[in-house]
């Protein structure tokens, strides 16, 4: 037998989610599928980071982002931090056919204007708006309670900015995330940004 079936391959990776996601990224056949699998990879890495908030809540934005990039690299994803693309973007992931997925990451300070500044960096400075490069992420790290409320307020704040043609949808991968789409300033092509949350809040109430 010269072939390995999908069934045999899935059996090999079934207890290794990082490998399964990495394989999905590598075998993606178009940009939309690739970007969807990149989003799965980012969520997987962030789930690892969410497990020990007590060790991460004092960390700065760059430290958290570098850790996220390292976790993505361990999944054989070509991610870099602080890469020069119209400025120094927090995360750049490259794939075949010059696919790009760029993300800006902000540690939330209960200041939505600060988040807006980060979003506009991603929107107007880093992304090209070209085909194969028009999907990205905006990551919000929060060491405050109830990140669901933070993301809901952030979505409202973004909506209030009345960016021309911007629409919103819920994220099918993660109910703490949402997606915005609007025509890119440079190209007019739809720029899809997934707004992604990582809670590093830690306040155990078991102490007397």
């Amino acid at each position: 037998m010269t072939f390995q079936s999908i069934e045999q391959l899935l059996a090999l990776v079934q207890d290794k989610p990082a490998l399964e996601i990495g394989l999905s990224v590598a075998t993606s056949n178009d940009y939309a599928e690739w970007a969807r699998n990149i989003n799965r990879a980012v969520d997987h890495a962030l789930r690892q980071m969410a497990q020990n908030p007590e060790l991460r809540q004092a960390k700065g934005e760059d430290e958290l982002t570098i850790e996220l990039v390292s976790l993505l690299n361990m999944m054989d994803i070509e991610a870099g931090h602080d890469t020069k693309v119209g400025g120094h973007v927090d995360i750049r992931i490259k794939g075949k056919r010059d696919y790009h997925w760029l993300a800006e990451a902000k540690k939330h300070k209960q200041d939505y204007a600060w988040l807006m500044q980060g979003f506009q960096q991603l929107n107007t400075r880093y992304t090209t708006g070209l085909a194969g490069q028009d999907k990205g992420g905006f990551i919000v790290y929060s060491d405050h309670a109830r990140i669901d409320r933070t993301m809901s307020k952030w979505r409202d704040h973004l909506e209030e900015q009345k960016i021309e043609g911007m629409s919103f949808s819920n994220c099918e991968l993660n109910d703490l995330s949402f997606q915005s789409t609007h025509p890119h300033d440079r190209t007019g092509r739809p720029l899809e940004v997934r707004h992604i949350a990582l809670s590093i809040y830690f306040d155990p109430k078991d102490r007397i």
Binding site: S5, I6, L9, L19, G22, T27, I77, G95, K96, D98
Partner: protein, 98 residues
Amino acid sequence: MLTFISFKNVLGYPSVDELLIRAVMLLANSSVHALDAKLLFIDDDDAEYELDPAELEDARKEGALAHPVTGALIGDYERKVFPFFVPSDRLIGARAHA
């Protein structure tokens, strides 16, 4: 046509393992992009059909693959669909310019 088994054989590995899968992934992904992944469906009569990835995606949603010719639904399609790899246009172009 390159398959995981052909890589295993060339490398002299006893089986397809995680390291081998990761090595092939690096060739198929990233800016290296030397290989393109494809899918082959082999039916019970050993007839071979290249599948569009969208057909596999539909099969996953529906729980069955529609046979490319007869349209008959195949429940155990994951046993009959095989990934394979071909040199990418990028690799072919690089060789042409070498």
